[in-house]
Structures are given as structure tokens and as C-alpha cells.
Symmetry: C2
Subunit: 308 residues, 2 copies
């Protein structure tokens, strides 16, 4: 027993290592937790484990609608992640896997939305409600403004017509396409590596992983020399099920909560990350934040019995 | 058979999806491949698979020297990754795991090196050799210059005394420490998520993963609410062996090759990634590159019989 105490004391010391660099990753005590809307929550079940995805109908209404139809017809069941490049994306949901002559219904691009600025007209301005926006950074390399919109990493440009778009960060879920911007159909990808921000405004982002990124990281990779394609079906990670939370009984749903990014608590966390005043920092980092390096805390309160 | 042909044709079509976004990840035909120096190559063997790490004695001579001593005494054998935060770092090599009273030998910080600029004096300048440097980006959010130094992602500052340092990118290997800059001992970490560049110049980076990042991504995560700590030993990923390539017979070594970043071919790839002219890009991305989003190609020519 004394040994165990000594061990845990020592471990306590060892754990100081790098803790300061990481503290902001865990949630603060005053975090405001939101439950997910079951109508916009997807359970992606893999042999590797369960992944929970939050859909975003504000930014991609048509894509989300179509995706829900596909879920309802159990379209993704027994499809695979057939193109997986470590540090980049895991891509799956290609119906040619099982159907030689799929009826392809393509989707209109939903790359960005209008960002209505406050009207100059006094009367119009009276009833105007700003969209939820929590600033993270001005002028990073890729956008004039980055920030969070209801938990989703996003960017804005106020010039001329204001535009806002969701950004490619780890955990971002988007529709694949070919050269035609309106050519998405069923293939989707999850970003698994350093944010490919150059893809922003070029693909329809319609969701984000809120739970189970560790599971996503276990998806079997292809060779980069083969552009990530895994030819051998047996080598791939397969989708056992992919279904909308609302299609399950309440008792079978997972209780996942995500931090509200539209709160003082979250803004405080951002400020602390920007001004790293801790004595750990021998060299004071620049006072900047990478939108994709700001974790949005989430927690699982109750695992469903169906969870594997 | 005709079905198979149709299938592969269809798959061919499907594969067009997103290929353009990814093309630059695979190596170009004219890539110059370098073999690794066995004296600076580490094999990290996990149950999950084999990871190959290249050490960097130029930036961290003392740390590399000490790390090799630890490898020689098989120090890391049967130690674990006890603190693993998805999207951040996998940390392991804590001797308090197995020894209640470890003799801790601490290491001097090696956070940056001098970057000798060309001397103004003509005679001195005559024999001056510039260090290898391939520019990636000026003024990203974290440094005046980023680029590659012999395959390693790095950054520079030319102001006053020139300094150069290795950057925190996915795959970066560094020594953990506590508040004292000179307090590293045996604990190391591998970056597994979006680059925590704010840690640059604050920790001793001494290596990079050149093969097996997919294996690293399978390392068992802890809970972010517990700061990534995995209390239950049985739940952790363990290090079966960690040894220097040069300590093995030539026939037992892996033939890993890495792209030479100091070549015209590599610079051409950088230019193409910066100026994305392909018609895939509906919205032309800004002409910038994130140092941590530029993959350095590597390939495995021959797997050793010992490889699992």
C-alpha cells in the first residue's frame, strides 16, 4: 500500500509534465452543456466503435435533408471507408461498392451562406437578430475572421456581400465530389489530420464529429502512394450501421453533451488560450489561436445498451 | 467478369471524388529518396504495429545522445503511453510506472538553435555554407518563416540573432517537462492532432515519425476530462520494444526512405500546393501553405521479418 501511495505521488509529479500545455483542452467548471438534437444527430457504428456526428442544417440544408433520406433507407449499412489517407481524410459511402448501376442523385453545392450584416436602415435594424458567432481569430492565413457558430468551427468574410462557411478541421464531415461543384451524391469524408483549410468553400461541410474521434482515428488507412485507396475489401473499415438518433427509442440513444460555444465561459477559455500567461511558457507564444486547434468539449453521460 | 469490369469502371469514376484535393500528398515521380541513417533511426514497436522515428541531433544533440543511452539500456521496454489526448499528444515513457524511486537525470532545454546568417565580412562570407532550408511560408500566425530543414518542419526568425526551431506538427516527437525548462528526463510525446504550434520553442523536439503514423493513431486514448490519463494499466498501449536501427543486424532493419526536402522536385510540389490551379477549385484558395499540412513522402521498401 505505501508503495502504491508513493507510486501515485510520483505519478502525480510526472503528470505535471505538459499538463499546462493541455489544460485548456478539458472543459472549464462553468461550461454550459447542450444536449444534441436527435433529429440532427447521427450514430455511425463501426467495428472499431461508435462515432457521433452532429449535422448542420443551417449551413447545408439540402445536403442534410438528403443525407437523412439515405440514413432512413439504411443506405450506408455495409458500405466501407475505401479511401483513407492518414493525416488527411477517411472517405466512404460509395454505392458502387455494392450496386453496379446506382441511380445517382446529385446535390447542389452548399459551400457558404450569406452572413447578414446589421442593416443600415434604422427600422430594419430594430428587429435584426445577429447570428451566433464567437470570434477566435482575425486574419489567420485562410480567412478574415474565424470563430464558432453554435459549436461548429467557421469563418467569415464581411467584404461586399458577407459570407460565412464551415471550416475543414479534424472531425469535419463533408460531401466528396468530382470537378463539378454540384456533383456530390453519397460519398462523404471525415477529416482525420491537420486541417486542410485550402478545401474551405470548395466542398459542402454538413456535420462534425462530436464523440468518437479516437474511433475515427482507428479507421484502416490506405497507402498514400495509391491515393489512399484500399483495393482489398477485407482490409477496409466497414460501416455496420449509420442511423439518425431520432430513429431510435429514447432509451437506446446516447446522452452526448457538447459545450455551448456561445457563452462567456467559452469566450473566457478562448482568451486564456490566446494569452498563455502560465509560467510553463518559457517562450511566450504569439497571442493567436488556430480555429482548428481549439477543442470544443463534449461528454458522454450514458452509453446506450446498444453501444459496442 | 463483365460485372467486375463495370464495377471497376464505376469505382474509377467514384474515385475521382476528391482526388484532386489530395493529389499533392502522394510523391511526385521525380522525388529524390533518402535512406535513413540507422544511427538516428528508432523502431518503436507497439502491439498496434511498428513506428519509425527519425532523430534530429542537429537541433537536439544532448537530448538525442541521452535518448540513445536510454534505448541502449532498453529503458522504454514495457513502459506505456499513459497520457493520451485525442487531437493533441500521446505521452509515454514514465519510469515511475515500474520504478518507485527512479534516479532522474534531467536534460538541458534544446528549444532552438542559432541560425547563422551570411556574414557581412567578405572574407568570412567566402567559406560560409548556408544550412539546408526550403521555404514554405512567410508570416504564418506563429513564425516569420516556416520551412523544411532536412525533412523536418521548422521555423526561423532572422531578427537580431537568428534562431531556428523545429515545429510542433502531427508526428513531431518531443520531450515532456514540468515548469522548469531543464526538467525533461525520459517522458516523451508524439503529436497526434492539429499542430499545437503554441508549444514551439517551449519543448525540446528531437524527432519525427517517418513511418507508421496510422499505428500511432491507434494508441489508446484517455479521457480529456481526466487530462488524458489512463489510470488502468491494462487499458493502455504498451511499448513492446524501442530500439535504435543500428543496434539490429542489417537484415533485420526496415528499408524506409524519405523524400529529400532540399530538392527542386520538393520545391515544385510546394509551389503546386500553394497555387492550386486545378479546375476542382471552384473557390480559389489563398496562396498560402500551412507547414504542418505539407506531407513529406516516405515509403517502406522492405519490411523486416521482425515486423509485425
Amino acid at each position: 500500500m505505501p508503495n502504491n501511495i508513493a507510486l501515485s505521488l510520483l505519478r502525480g509529479l510526472a503528470l505535471v509534465f505538459l499538463i499546462l500545455g493541455a489544460t485548456p483542452i478539458s472543459a472549464q467548471d462553468d461550461t454550459v452543456w447542450n444536449s444534441l438534437d436527435p433529429k440532427n444527430t447521427v450514430y455511425l457504428q463501426l467495428k472499431e466503435g461508435m462515432v457521433v456526428i452532429e449535422l448542420n442544417p443551417t449551413f447545408a440544408p439540402k445536403t442534410v435533408k438528403r443525407f437523412k433520406e439515405l440514413l432512413e433507407e439504411q443506405f450506408y449499412r455495409s458500405l466501407s471507408f475505401y479511401r483513407v489517407i492518414d493525416g488527411f481524410v477517411a472517405q466512404g459511402g460509395d454505392e458502387s461498392d455494392i450496386d453496379d448501376n446506382p441511380a445517382i442523385k446529385t446535390l447542389k453545392a452548399e459551400f457558404e451562406i450569406d452572413w447578414p450584416l446589421k442593416p443600415k436602415d434604422k427600422d430594419e435594424a430594430k428587429d435584426w437578430q445577429p447570428m451566433s458567432w464567437t470570434l477566435v481569430q482575425k486574419d489567420d492565413m485562410f480567412a478574415p475572421f474565424t470563430g464558432f457558430i453554435d459549436g461548429f468551427p467557421a469563418a467569415r468574410d464581411d467584404k461586399k456581400a458577407g459570407k460565412a462557411w464551415l471550416t475543414h478541421c479534424p472531425g469535419t464531415v463533408a460531401m466528396a465530389r468530382n470537378d463539378d461543384p454540384d456533383s456530390s451524391s453519397t460519398d462523404f469524408y471525415i477529416v482525420i489530420g491537420q486541417a486542410p483549410r485550402y478545401l474551405d468553400r470548395n466542398l459542402t461541410i454538413f456535420g462534425r464529429v462530436v464523440w468518437g474521434m479516437d474511433v475515427v482515428q482507428r479507421i484502416k488507412r490506405g497507402s498514400t502512394l495509391d491515393n489512399g485507396i484500399i483495393e482489398d475489401d477485407l482490409e477496409r473499415s466497414w460501416i455496420s450501421r449509420m442511423q439518425l438518433a431520432s430513429s431510435l427509442d429514447v432509451s437506446d440513444r446516447l446522452d452526448v453533451y457538447v459545450a455551448d460555444t456561445n457563452t462567456k465561459s467559452f469566450s473566457d477559455m478562448l482568451r486564456k488560450r490566446r494569452n498563455r500567461s502560465d509560467k510553463f511558457f518559457h517562450h511566450k507564444p504569439p497571442k493567436v489561436l488556430d480555429i482548428c486547434q481549439v477543442p470544443v468539449p463534449s461528454r458522454l453521460e450514458k452509453a446506450s445498451v446498444r453501444r459496442r
